[in-house]
Symmetry: C2
Subunit: 627 residues, 2 copies
């Protein structure tokens, strides 16, 4: 390793601190595009995005191609070969192909063990050629052009898209006319990671995003997905910066929970997969009883109907919270069915059904959290202003392009705050983040504005500078009811959830700016939102923005024990799950409010993408998990 380091002794460009190369952004993202670095020796690494080859001019006669080049520091550097322990049975090839010494170094002598293998990867002698490779290392939107003489390595080995190379060479003005400001003339290839073109999903040509979803483990190698990831990174930074600047404490809320944290999502259940658990499961056979009578059947039918209704409601994104009532209804019927069934069973089975799960890791049911807000309220009731940033889960099978089974959320909770405080906070947050990402991520946004959505930058700037419109739900309904020049698919009426179409009308056509809608009917919001004095509406709000619709949902939480207990009863929630949460109202209760940001949707807003599957490194959705 010491010898590798000696390469850099004379290098004036800053080395990437923890890898043996210069990050491409150090060269390409300079104001002069790298021109000031001409004649400097650098080592750079990356993956080939596209390439072409040219005959060396004047083209040498074909017979000379197997000779080592004179000078130029190609693959034939004797030093690199010192020791020669990796050479083995491939020595015979070396006289013909001097670059083999590089290849052997690359593979550590372990892939090229047999002549057959070598012959399959080493091409037949070719006329002297030059490969022009566009490589990217993920640090910049721009690629660096690398010029490699075929005496260093054969073009066919280097040119396939996806090939990884680590090259040492001299920066120079481009040898060919074109868009490049600078190129690297390779003198040594320190590493080649070859590509099996037949099985590699990416190519020079850009592929539709939907097709890239099948290869999540490769797609950040495309400039589009890489840019999205870099924007996502800056959005993360921006979010932390906002909350830290405002003195909020970051807390980690638990992922594993026994509490139904939002009261309406389908949940993932967690169990341990140890041997003992499996045995335990086998000892609990439960067979459907033949004596199930008509009344249970009726209940089952009702469940089917209600499930259907729930599924229907789920198809509309914006109706999500309106689902609560339907889901609770279904849950109640399920509970009834379970009870009936249990009663029937106890009649027909002498041995009681064992419920023991002692070999499970948790002794009670454990779920993946769908919202950190309840736990965050507990932290706010001690630390004041807190926020969390982590993954949240919902097992609802949905075709929505804005939700996944696993998605990252930013959640905040503020003690001693009321609805209007937290609405201001949400607005300031979005303004800050929009401004931050415009300032700190311009090249990526510019690239995405050309490839994905040309309105990105304007939209971010407008978000940062335009005061949001704040209207009550009732006002929103009144506005929508008065619309005459347009027919909505779903007729609006007080009490119903606004659909995406309604929200889009308000934001894009009526107010022409982000809109905060507050004071929704109680039925449309979670159980823990504070009831207003009118007894009908609750202190909740949604922030609706152009392009993506609802981006933030928030509310003032119910701090009054009697109201909260009443609501839990009304909805038939399992009270024992909420004992600790009710404790917060029994012991030093405080007015508090908060909101949650669907981070993945914020990435859509900033990048112009339409589907969260493209905004998340490894999206999780209904179906098969591939990695």
């Amino acid at each position: 390793m010491a010898t590798d380091h000696q390469l850099f002794d004379e290098m004036p460009v800053n080395l990437s601190k923890y890898s043996k190369r210069v990050l491409l952004k150090t060269i390409l993202d300079r104001a002069d595009g790298g021109l000031g670095l001409v004649e400097q020796r650098v080592v750079v690494g990356g993956w080939v995005k596209s390439s072409r080859e040219m005959r060396k001019d004047p083209p040498p006669p074909p017979t000379t191609t197997t000779q080592p080049p004179v000078g130029g520091g190609g693959g034939g550097d004797a030093k690199e070969d010192a020791g020669g322990k990796d050479v083995k049975c491939v020595e015979v090839f070396q006289s013909r192909f001097p670059f083999l010494r590089t290849i052997i170094k690359v593979f550590g002598g372990n892939i090229a063990h047999t002549k057959e293998k070598l012959e399959s990867i080493v091409p037949k002698p070719q006329p002297s050629m030059i490969s022009f490779l566009q490589i990217s290392d993920g640090s910049s939107v721009v690629s660096l052009q690398i010029m490699v003489d075929s005496s260093i390595a054969p073009p066919s080995l280097l040119m396939p898209t996806g090939t990884c190379i680590l090259a040492e060479g001299i920066l120079q003005k481009p040898s060919l006319q074109g868009k490049h400001v600078i190129e690297l003339k390779a003198e040594k290839l320190l590493h080649i990671g070859i590509v099996d073109q037949d099985r590699y999903p990416l190519s020079k040509k850009s592929l539709p995003l939907a097709r890239l979803r099948n290869c999540a483990h490769f797609r950040p190698r495309t400039t589009t997905v890489a840019s999205v990831m870099r924007v996502r990174n800056v959005l993360t930074q921006a979010s932390h910066t906002f909350f830290q600047n405002q003195g909020f404490v970051h807390v980690e809320v638990p992922i594993l929970t026994a509490t139904d944290t939002d009261g309406f999502s389908e949940k993932f259940e967690v169990s341990t997969s140890s041997v003992s658990t499996k045995e335990q499961k086998r000892e609990e056979p439960v067979s459907m009883d033949d004596t199930v009578n008509i009344s249970l059947e009726t209940v089952m039918l009702s469940i089917a109907e209600k499930s259907k209704k729930v599924e229907e409601l789920k198809r509309t994104d914006s109706n999500k919270e309106a689902l609560a009532a339907a889901v609770h209804d279904l849950q109640k019927t399920n509970a009834l069915a379970a009870e009936l069934e249990a009663r029937l069973k106890s009649k027909s089975r002498s041995k009681p059904k064992s419920k023991s799960k002692s070999s499970e890791f948790f002794s009670n049911e454990a779920f993946l959290t769908s919202s950190g807000s309840l736990h965050l309220e507990s932290c706010a009731s001690a630390l004041g202003n807190v926020y969390a940033f982590g993954p949240r889960f919902q097992a609802d099978i949905s075709e929505s392009k804005k939700s996944l089974a696993e998605s990252w959320m930013i959640e905040t909770e503020i003690a001693f705050s009321e609805l209007e405080d937290v609405m201001s906070c949400a607005e300031d947050f979005l303004k800050f983040v929009s401004d931050y990402v415009s300032e700190n991520c311009y090249e990526n946004l510019y690239f995405l504005s050309k490839r994905v959505d040309k309105t990105i930058i304007d939209r971010l700037r407008s978000m940062a500078s335009t005061p949001f419109e704040k209207i009550s739900y009732t006002t929103a309904v009144e506005v929508l009811e008065k619309v005459v020049d347009k027919t909505f698919e779903t007729k609006i009426q007080w009490g119903a959830a606004l659909t995406e179409e309604h929200e889009s009308y308000l934001v894009d056509e009526f107010y022409k700016k982000p809109v905060i809608i507050y004071d929704h009917p109680q039925e449309l919001k979670p159980f823990n939102v504070r009831i207003n004095d009118d007894g009908k509406t609750v202190a909740a709000f949604d922030v609706i923005v152009p392009k993506v619709g609802v981006l933030i949902r928030g509310s003032q939480k119910e701090e009054r024990l009697n109201h909260l207990s009443k609501r839990i009863n009304e909805l038939g929630l399992q009270k024992e799950q909420y004992e600790w949460y009710l404790d917060l109202r029994k012991q030093g209760t405080v007015k508090h409010s908060g909101f949650s940001v669907t981070f993945d949707v914020m990435v859509l807003f900033a990048t112009g993408l339409n589907d969260v599957q493209d905004a998340v490194p490894f999206p999780r959705n209904h179906g098969k998990l591939h990695n």
Copy 2:
């Protein structure tokens, strides 16, 4: 709400932007301790930590206590009573207790609905008293003293530890001699959140941390736990700052995964808890067959023995990775047992066991990830330098004080980097974070150094400034073998994992500084660590620091397809799970290295705590989940 805001018009101290009060740190963390703010009117909120009451001097005759005070702006402000709609049946009490108007406002007229209830919370007339409350709002280690005259609210209502109050008043020099620089003379109480003392777990007296674990939802109200949470927050900030400064891209690796990401932890399995799934489960009864013969029994016995061995190994923290072999051995035996069992079953059962899980959310098995490193490698093979910060899971039942079922990890992966690069990165990271937290969190560290561990600050400073010792595993064993003045519980020999005792000897007694041990025997490290040329050791490293032992584990990953495939076969891992991961070696492979930091253990290091259960807001461990 508008009237509330008018309160602040004349207020020169900065209001907390999103709540109706001044954060206590704005007053108390000033260089003058708040003295410069004397005579300013502020609104502050918080929870009572301790309190005492004093008779007003000169004590008025008992008969006068029910009369409203003259002046002083107490609870009897006529404005606040306007409308009076909340008064209801409690009017009768008002003439006797003017402060009731405040209480009624606090409860929104909803708790105090009956005379009985009121009588239970409203105390009998008392001589005129003053309560001195120490309140904290979570923003500072220091508490603010608030002086409340009993004409504003009865001491018995305010004084219990945990009571939440929002008070308006005037900052003044302390009325009593003591440690306080400043106090607030309350003029109005805008909110009181009472406490049911019999059921409230916290008290004035500080409780042992172990006892506080039973009330995770309240414990951040203690100064110790709040300080830990604030240090944790600054450690989070510091970690992000380090990686962002170095140009790393933050990526979110998936929590739900089909890949066994570390190849040795017990895993949590995830399923959906929908009605249809439950039905599905019921349709798959599998009963233990009576014809199970002796050979299966033998295998089962062997499983029991091997499980015991695994359990034994688990008890030693530092042996964790050494478990791999034992666990794999167990897994193989399990597989054998399953096969035998299946064969026996197929003989005795005509109906084949249904394996269909079509109603599940995922069509294949889904686990909670134990390490993000494999997915992170995929991102590094495109974006270069990446890091992740999120929750990781292991279902191992362990009594270790340094691990939980759910713990936050920082993981990083660096393309084109080798072992020495990533060891430098790990060292720089720890130095940066230690320095950052010392600089940005001093008050909290100082408090914890008094309460928990007086060496915290020195330890952090020493970590930030001392170069780490780097030794190979072989050297470590040699050093330990030469020790004569001490007998280790576990004898050291080459090939065995170092125990905590060995590690502690090296760090605390021999080198007296953080030690990085690298090049471990292959059997002790995960399947994907790069094999060294000696064919015995791998390019892994552990960073061992005083107080907590191993804090970081890292390695150069095996980038060579043939080596990696061979290792996966040797260990009997399920190859189909790793197809996508092997793809990274088939297509543009790159040398890369990374490490993972157990964030929760880093909190122990910085705070001096001994048990991660005290360092995590809601710790998850074997047993019952309470929230």
